[in-house]
């Protein structure tokens, strides 16, 4: 099977690219309309993976018994806790701290910094994390962060965009906190030295994203997440905050009701250590590596929803876990970058989704779920997708339009991470369109929290992607970098205030014993253990399988 390749694409795909080129000029001046409410509903209910029958089940145990969640999520929630209470001696405490932060991504780092601002000494805080400090989804965000600080914008418009984008399922008070804190977060970043793109007069460059009614995205090329994360990490290091790396939390500890610490496991030596804390903050991020419905994912290696499991064991409620976000533009070709993110900024800057015949088929900036569902419709029902040599389907994202609209060289200047990624594997996206298909991107729901980041379980706080309620059933681009800053900050402050009043608690496994008996009562007889900690890609699993999604 010898295929001829021309500049990264097999010859047969080139024929479709010719059609894309032929319609490009006309499409640039094409004024497309977003869908009406009815059209959106129709395309979502027929084509979005979350509506596929048989993909979910209702939980049989725990505080959110009866909630519908994906099978992959149910499998880790309805599993035996990793630790066996009989095998661990809680008599020997390795470390006593005021605040234990579980998860060294964006939310965890922001929480730690604000706990220090709130008066807790850095040495009384411990951040523990699964991989290295900053090996996290926060590092990978490309497009930008929303904040309504523009002249023609304000937080109430941001509120409406977020709540409508989330299908009105969001908790309104959380959305209010999100949008009202946003300008202050950008100001804090400005003072920490984050290099957001600016106009010559110092105004931020602001761009639209899917579902936003104003340009509101602040970005730093397409390395926005990396720029913010490396700055806050640097600040954490300057303050002397300690981060225990390669030491995921495998279980919380309680005095029965109140969370009083956690058990960590060294990933290399497999040794446990016991940390007692007055407040615990969960900032473990999302669930992309569960590969819901077999989808590839944009998420980092450690995104296995551990925090969700830990919180569930101690009786926290979860919300909106029936909805996952599939990013419409995951790379569908070439194989080494399958599932990796093509930032929404590419569409924000003018690139249009186009089918095999070079036709535009959807308004480019619909909310993500709607956009994804229409890509799936184009490929699976209308048969207008492009098939890759390994049998994956995709639609074109006509990136050269960006150069036509904003001038030659724009892509290398403003989308350098994207350009590099494609270029590494032989494709020049300033000359040729790129092939995309929805990829699992974001955990819309999570552990229920209030505006202070409190989970409802005494001593336990949460912020960032692990928490739910902020985005309802669908998060808008740029609202989750904002989320981890807003609720990382709020949970850090709340945990600090709680720690100042609390005294060190008793540490027990009572909740583990309780959870195990709940499983027994529900008749769940399983060998599954959770949290999962890391996915396993050894052997054949290293290779992505073609998706077989039925509609």
């Amino acid at each position: 099977m010898d295929m001829k390749f021309i500049d990264g694409y097999p010859e047969y795909m080139r024929q479709s690219i010719k059609k894309v080129e032929a319609t490009r000029e006309k499409r640039i001046s094409l004024d497309m309309e977003p869908m009406s409410a009815e059209e959106r509903e129709e395309v979502l209910s027929t084509y979005h993976p979350d509506y596929v029958k048989g993909g979910k089940r209702s939980l049989k145990v725990g505080a959110s018994k009866g909630e519908m969640v994906h099978h992959e999520t149910a499998n880790i929630l309805e599993a035996r806790p990793q630790v066996n209470p009989d095998e661990i001696d809680l008599g020997c405490i390795n470390r006593d701290v005021d605040i234990l932060i579980i998860g060294g991504g964006g939310a965890g780092t922001v929480a730690a910094l604000h706990a220090v601002y709130e008066g807790i000494l850095p040495e009384d805080i411990l951040i523990t994390t699964k991989l290295r400090h900053g090996d996290a989804n926060s590092m990978m965000a490309q497009g930008g962060i929303q904040a309504a600080d523009g002249l023609d914008d304000d937080p109430s418009i941001h509120f409406l965009d977020a709540i409508g984008g989330g299908h009105f399922a969001n908790k309104p008070d959380l959305v209010k906190a999100l949008v009202m804190d946003a300008p202050r977060i950008i100001d804090w970043h400005q003072r920490l030295g984050v290099m957001y793109e600016r106009e010559d007069d110092g105004h931020f460059v602001e761009r639209p994203g899917g579902g936003t009614s104003r340009p509101r995205l602040h970005s730093a090329k397409d390395y926005t997440g990396m720029e913010i994360m490396r700055v806050i990490r640097d600040e954490a290091r300057n303050l002397g905050l300690e981060v225990e790396e390669f030491s995921p939390a495998v279980e919380l500890l309680t005095d029965g009701d109140t969370v009083t610490g956690a058990i960590l496991m060294d990933l290399e030596t497999r040794e446990y250590s016991i940390i007692r804390a007055k407040s615990v903050i969960l900032t473990t991020g999302g669930f992309g590596r569960l590969h819901i419905q077999g989808y590839p994912t944009t998420n980092h290696y450690g995104a296995t929803a551990d925090g969700l499991v830990l919180a569930y064991h101690v009786g926290a409620r979860i919300t909106d876990m029936d909805s996952a976000q599939y990013h419409p533009t995951g790379a569908a070709y070439p194989e080494p970058i399958l599932g990796q993110l093509i930032t929404e900024k590419v569409r924000g800057m003018g690139a249009m989704p186009v089918n095999i015949d070079g036709e535009a088929f959807v308004y480019p900036l619909e909310p993500r779920d709607v956009e994804s569902a229409s890509f799936i419709r184009e490929c699976k029902t209308r048969g207008k997708g492009i098939e890759t040599p390994t049998g994956m389907l995709g639609v074109w994202l006509d990136s050269p339009m960006i150069e036509e609209i904003h001038g030659p060289g724009t892509i290398k200047k403003e989308l350098i991470a994207m350009w590099r990624m494609e270029h590494q594997f032989g494709i020049d996206m300033s000359q040729d369109p790129i092939l995309v298909y929805p990829t699992l991107h974001y955990q819309n729901g999570g552990v229920e929290i209030d505006v202070d980041g409190w989970t409802g379980v005494p001593g336990l706080y949460a912020g960032g992607e692990v928490a739910g309620g902020v985005h309802g059933k669908n998060r808008l681009m740029g609202n989750s970098l904002l989320d981890y800053n807003v609720f990382g900050r709020r949970s850090g402050i709340s945990a600090a205030r709680h720690a100042k009043k609390a005294s060190p608690g008793k540490i027990t496994f009572d909740h583990v014993i309780r959870f195990n008996s709940l499983l027994d009562e529900a008749g769940i007889d399983t060998e599954r253990r959770s949290p999962m900690l890391l996915p396993d890609y050894r052997g054949e699993r290293a290779i992505a399988r073609a998706l077989n999604i039925s509609i």
């Binding site: 007069d201 990396m226 002397g240 290779i543």
Partner: protein
């Protein structure tokens, strides 16, 4: 991806893996369950620094395992941790002067302009040039040139002058962002408005709306997104 297999040597031991995988996936295909040396899997975190040599070639090359296709005859080793020290500073107590960075990282003055760092950088950054810019006190240039740095540490591992380029660059960017970039006026204005309690009522009013009225408000909202 081809059905053809190639040979890679992981820390000297031969493994047969399919053609067309990234180095990272080749390691996994060969049976390694990665703990170190794997983070974002997409070219953003710098966890997967790799050193390799090709059969019949004496040179040592550097790469990101998640962003590089494995080739036949590669001798691979992961370099997931670089113990380079970072200076601690209080950004509020320093200023962006021509000697600021040199006083915090004096070893920068020892750069011998050998260009080894630039050759080592998997992000194709002109590392030596940003170090030279720091030497001249040109913070903004160092900040711009180093912007794509994902702090993998490969430059530092190769530098004969013991310079911690990526920590130096981090300081340059923060100094630029904090002191040299012009601050946003609309942002300050918005923050004063928030301090006066603006927007509270508008939002609370929406929270009180009946669901159907809120939906109506949303679908009828004005969309002004053209740049």
């Amino acid at each position: 991806m081809g059905k053809n297999k190639i040979s890679v040597y992981i820390m000297g031991k031969e493994h047969r893996v399919p053609e067309g995988l990234t180095i990272m996936k080749a390691l996994e295909y060969a049976g390694y369950r990665l703990i170190r040396g794997c983070g974002c899997r997409a070219g953003f975190c710098g966890a997967c620094a790799t050193i390799y040599r090709k059969k019949g070639d004496y040179k040592l090359y550097t790469a990101l395992a998640c962003q590089t296709t494995a080739e036949n005859g590669m001798y691979l080793t992961q370099l997931p941790f670089i113990p380079a020290n970072k200076s601690e500073y209080d950004l509020e107590k320093i200023r962006a002067g021509p000697n600021t960075i040199l006083s915090i990282y004096p070893e920068v003055a020892r750069c011998v302009a050998c260009n080894t760092c630039t050759k080592a950088c998997p992000q194709d950054i002109q590392v030596m040039d940003y170090i030279q810019a720091v030497k001249r006190g040109d913070i903004t240039r160092a900040a711009d040139l180093s912007f794509n740095c994902l702090q993998c540490g490969l430059c530092t591992a190769r530098c004969p002058a013991e310079i911690k380029q990526y920590h130096v660059a981090q300081l340059a960017r923060r100094l630029h962002g904090r002191y040299l970039a012009i601050k946003s006026e609309p942002l300050s204005k918005r923050i004063s408005e928030l301090e006066e309690g603006c927007f509270e009522n508008e939002i609370d009013e929406m929270i009180e709306l009946k669901p159907e009225d809120l939906r109506k408000r949303y679908f009828e909202r004005e969309i002004k997104v053209s740049e």
